[in-house]
């Protein structure tokens, strides 16, 4: 029999990781479960990577309450946990033919939500601060507290900090049922066995409705809403200095143009409901919509130097709001569902709010004496000066071997990413932690080397190394293995 936990959190996306991070400071036994081979592989890995200022969310909704709090919270957490975060500010840019009164309405909404330091700016300001913006741009809402972050690094940092404070993370562990007794949660059944706990937090993202149904909750209904994107090489010579939105329409916030923390240009997303929770396919129409949308704000933007297209799925509940509440029918079960935009921005506030709910439900929150507040900064060679690099190599020669030339990632960084807490097991997990393969050649050069290092460090055969989930092996056969096989008889 496995040990009994105080809290089991289902799903290691940004919400689940934030809840784990929040709860790990208390004297609690915590287990974070994730069905995939890494944290942050769902909605958290494919979104606009923005910390919204908070003027967009409806003040009457939970989103409206939590966004501004989360915006303040993430700033602090980013510092403590060394998460790459930059507060570059956002603009909602009105063009000549737009309904410009929407900008004033957003400003008013922002005031109600307590968004600080907003300003309405005009043509001149825009020319000066966004030199490439459309000449038709006449007015904008400037919210300096908006920022950009690396979402998967945020989730990872929180998970790692939770582990440092005694929490456990189990990957490739899919919850198959939630066990209850006498109207009370007692644990979960998974593909890796049963785990007992007094409290279960459902942070299963796209699958939160399915988990909720396991305890008889029918009111949550998650619809995957697809967003498609283009990402550019950081060598792209095109200045965009803020997170730039168009004027929103009643149905969409529109196509955003923004730099990422790593200084790649990102454009997107579309917003279309899809049937399947695994439909991560980009489409010809979607990509066209993204580019045309971006061109409205930046007419001189071309598609040269794009290095990847991708799609993400937002986990939208029918209520179009966050659903963070204790179940009425089962004691000890808390939903953290419907976390779509601004979920990333709200993550710390979501965690605080969830902890309050758990306390109301009877969970005792007493702070640990030896609580570790910070996470050591991982070495990021790509952002170092040559002098700093030289110093690192003097300390450890393994920094001297560069594996990914596009993003300047060393052998040591990759080995550390694999061997650190919540370590990388897949090629994409290495990429998320180190940026190896995230550059212009997309792993063309470092791919074989990374596969080799993962195989070495995990003690597995290279044919077992996966790109990401399920059956995503990079290499299917050893050389000469297919000779004389069926395939050849057909030749």
């Amino acid at each position: 029999m496995n040990k009994k936990y105080d809290v089991i959190i289902i799903g290691a996306g940004i919400s689940g990781c934030a809840v784990a991070w929040k709860l790990a400071r208390y004297n609690l036994d915590i287990l974070l479960l994730e069905k995939e081979a890494d944290v942050a592989t769902g909605t958290t890995k494919a979104n606009t990577a923005i910390i919204h200022a908070g003027y967009n969310a409806d003040p009457d909704k939970l989103k409206g309450h939590l966004n501004v709090k989360g915006n303040q919270g993430i700033r602090e957490v980013a510092k403590k946990l060394n998460i790459p975060y930059e507060e570059i500010g956002s603009l909602v840019v009105g063009l000549e033919d737009d309904n410009l009164s929407v900008i004033d309405e957003l400003y008013e909404k922002g005031l109600k939500n307590n968004v600080p330091n907003m300003e309405i700016v005009g043509k001149e300001w825009l020319r000066e601060h966004e030199p490439n913006i459309s000449p038709k741009a006449v007015k904008a809402l400037w919210a300096p507290t908006a920022g950009v972050i690396t979402p998967w690094e945020a989730a990872l940092a929180m998970a790692q900090n939770a582990v440092a404070n005694g929490a456990e993370v189990k990957l490739e562990t899919a919850v198959e049922d939630v066990m209850t007794e006498d109207g009370k949660v007692v644990g979960v059944k998974t593909n890796q066995g049963d785990f007992e706990a007094d409290y279960v937090v459902n942070a299963a993202g796209l699958y939160a409705d399915e988990i909720a149904k396991m305890v008889g909750i029918e009111k949550i209904n998650i619809t995957p809403r697809k967003g498609e994107y283009y990402i550019y090489d950081h060598a792209k010579d095109f200045a965009v200095n803020h997170v730039v939105f168009p004027v929103p329409t009643p149905i969409s916030k529109g196509i955003v143009v923004t730099p990422t923390v790593e200084n790649n240009l990102l454009i997107g997303p579309t917003s279309h409901n899809v049937k399947s929770k695994t439909d991560l396919a980009t489409t010809r129409e979607g990509l066209k919509e993204v580019y045309e949308g971006a061109k409205k704000l930046y007419p001189s933007l071309d598609l040269r130097d794009t290095i990847r297209v991708f799609a993400g799925l937002r986990a939208a509940d029918d209520s179009e709001d966050f659903v963070i509440e204790a179940a009425e029918n089962v004691k000890g079960f808390v939903n953290v569902a419907g976390i779509q935009s601004p979920g990333l921005a709200s993550s710390t506030a979501i965690a605080d709010y969830t902890a309050e709910i758990l306390a109301d439900e009877g969970l005792k929150l007493s702070e640990k004496k030896d609580y570790i507040e910070t996470r050591e900064e991982p070495v990021r060679f790509y952002e170092m000066t040559n002098k700093e690099r030289a110093k690192m190599v003097d300390q450890n020669k393994d920094y001297g071997q560069i594996i990914c030339r596009c993003e300047t990632v060393s052998y040591k960084e990759i080995v550390d990413a694999i061997n650190s807490p919540v370590g990388a097991r897949t090629v994409n997990a290495v990429k998320r932690r180190t940026r190896a393969g995230a550059g212009r050649c997309q792993g063309g050069f470092c791919g074989p080397r990374v596969v080799d290092i993962i195989a070495q460090e995990l003690g597995i055969d290279p044919t077992e190394v996966k790109q990401e989930e399920g059956n995503s092996q990079i290499l299917e056969y050893k050389i000469k293995e297919l000779l004389g096989s069926k395939v050849m008889d057909n030749a």
Partner: protein
């Protein structure tokens, strides 16, 4: 940080770097260092195990490793310093090279001259924005070649190849021979991007269909690639939806173009030519930055390694002259212009004193394929000379010699233009 001084630093130990280093050494520059990021010399050649190399340069047919071995032997016979597993991180216009390796750590090398010979990289699926999912099993042909020929793995057994560049054609045969089922090679254009001999020997020999005017319109599969959707394209290269069909495949190889690898060049303020993606150079292969030369695929993508060798010898020779301080510029400069149906001409300018130069080979490619062509050269608008070729294809480089005498007779010319057009009266 270790600081060293060198006469010549060559960045890249592939065929270009090896030939440039050897030539400079033989021309009297004995203090030469080659920086190579891989664990051995040869660049991409060790993984190009097929034959077809060296017919021009050695007048015999060699495989890639054999071609490389000859130059590796040349370098090893000379007292040329080679640093393997060494990545160059930075080059400045003052010719300081910053590099790193496991053994020595961080190095600062001050060079009298630098030869850029970093080669090129492959365009990826992201760069061309193929719609669909992002499963495992989608990789560039060159990466698949490394897995197959160096690392010892076959990426998959049901293969579709997008793009008919030479590496794609070579890998079609290679994977077929290793037991994979190569279902099709799709080419967006109405003609192939590779050498004709590769179409014959790699596809026709093994009944692998070449589907011209076709492209991959969707990638399908969640973990590993499950299928690709291919469609015919119209004359504007737009997919025709009614023609879409799905082919079951676990592997999609991309051979959709090569891009000169000039991130380091840019750090040294080297100016690039938009058409080639490589530096703008004079006939000595010197860039706009004094003492920084470029050759091989970092300068422009070549069809045959033989031309890389020829070009790198030119660069090595002139780098040696530069170091010895007898590298004279005329002060006047003739620009070379790509005229009708010519996509680019290398070098982009002629500006050196004649010296011992007998002829200047001009390398170029056509934009569209033609049979029976006239190659016309004009100096400041007046026809210089003209000759005919049976055909011209974008996949195959054309070398046009410009005789020294012609240049001497011209005096000061501002512009030399090349047209490659359908033969008169054809």
């Amino acid at each position: 940080m270790r600081k060293v001084k060198k006469d010549l630093v060559v960045i890249g130990g592939g065929p270009a770097g090896l030939a440039a280093a050897k030539t400079a050494y033989d021309d009297g520059i004995k203090d030469v260092m080659i920086l190579e990021r891989d664990f051995e010399l040869g660049g991409i050649l060790p993984q190009c195990i097929h034959n077809g190399f060296g017919l021009h340069h050695f007048k015999e047919e060699l495989t890639g490793p054999e071609y490389a071995q000859r130059f590796i032997n040349d370098v090893e016979e000379r007292d040329i310093e080679v640093k393997l597993d060494t990545m160059v991180l930075d080059v400045t216009k003052e010719r300081k090279v910053y590099a790193m390796n496991k053994k020595e750590g961080f190095l600062e090398i001050e060079a009298k001259a630098v030869v850029l010979a970093m080669g090129c990289r492959e365009r990826t699926s992201g760069a061309i924005g193929i719609p669909g999912t992002r499963p495992a099993g989608v990789l560039t042909a060159g990466t698949a070649q490394r897995y197959t020929n160096i690392e010892g793995f076959v990426p998959g057994k049901e293969v579709v190849i997008l793009g008919s560049g030479d590496i794609g054609l070579i890998m079609a045969r290679r994977m077929k021979l290793e037991g994979a089922d190569v279902k099709a090679v799709c080419e967006l254009l109405p003609y192939t991007g590779g050498l004709t001999r590769n179409v014959v020997q790699c596809l026709e020999d093994y009944d692998i269909p070449l589907m011209l005017n076709h492209t991959v319109t969707a990638i399908k599969g969640e973990g590993r690639l499950e299928a690709v959707e291919i469609s015919e394209v119209d004359e504007n290269l737009k997919p025709i939806p009614e023609t879409a069909k799905t082919i079951k495949a676990d592997t999609l190889l991309l051979s959709v173009g090569l891009i000169p690898e000039n991130e380091l060049s840019k750090k040294a303020d080297v100016v690039l030519d938009e058409r080639t993606g490589g530096p703008i150079v004079n006939e000595g292969r010197e860039t706009n930055i004094e003492g920084i030369f470029a050759c091989g695929n970092v300068l422009h993508v070549h069809d045959l390694v033989d031309w890389v060798t020829e070009e790198s010898q030119i660069a090595g020779k002139h780098a040696a002259k530069y170091i010895k301080d007898n590298y004279e510029k005329t002060g006047s400069c003739a620009e070379l212009k790509a005229g009708e149906n010519v996509s680019y001409v290398i070098p982009q300018k002629i500006e050196l004193e004649a010296g011992d130069r007998k002829r200047i080979p001009l390398y170029m490619r056509v934009s569209t394929p033609l049979t029976a062509v006239d190659i016309n050269l004009y100096a400041d608008g007046e026809k210089l000379y003209s000759f005919s070729e049976p055909f011209a294809k974008p996949g195959e480089m054309i070398s046009v010699p410009l005789a020294q005498k012609t240049l001497d007779d011209l005096g000061n010319v501002d512009e030399i233009k090349v047209d490659i057009i359908e033969k008169e009266g054809n």
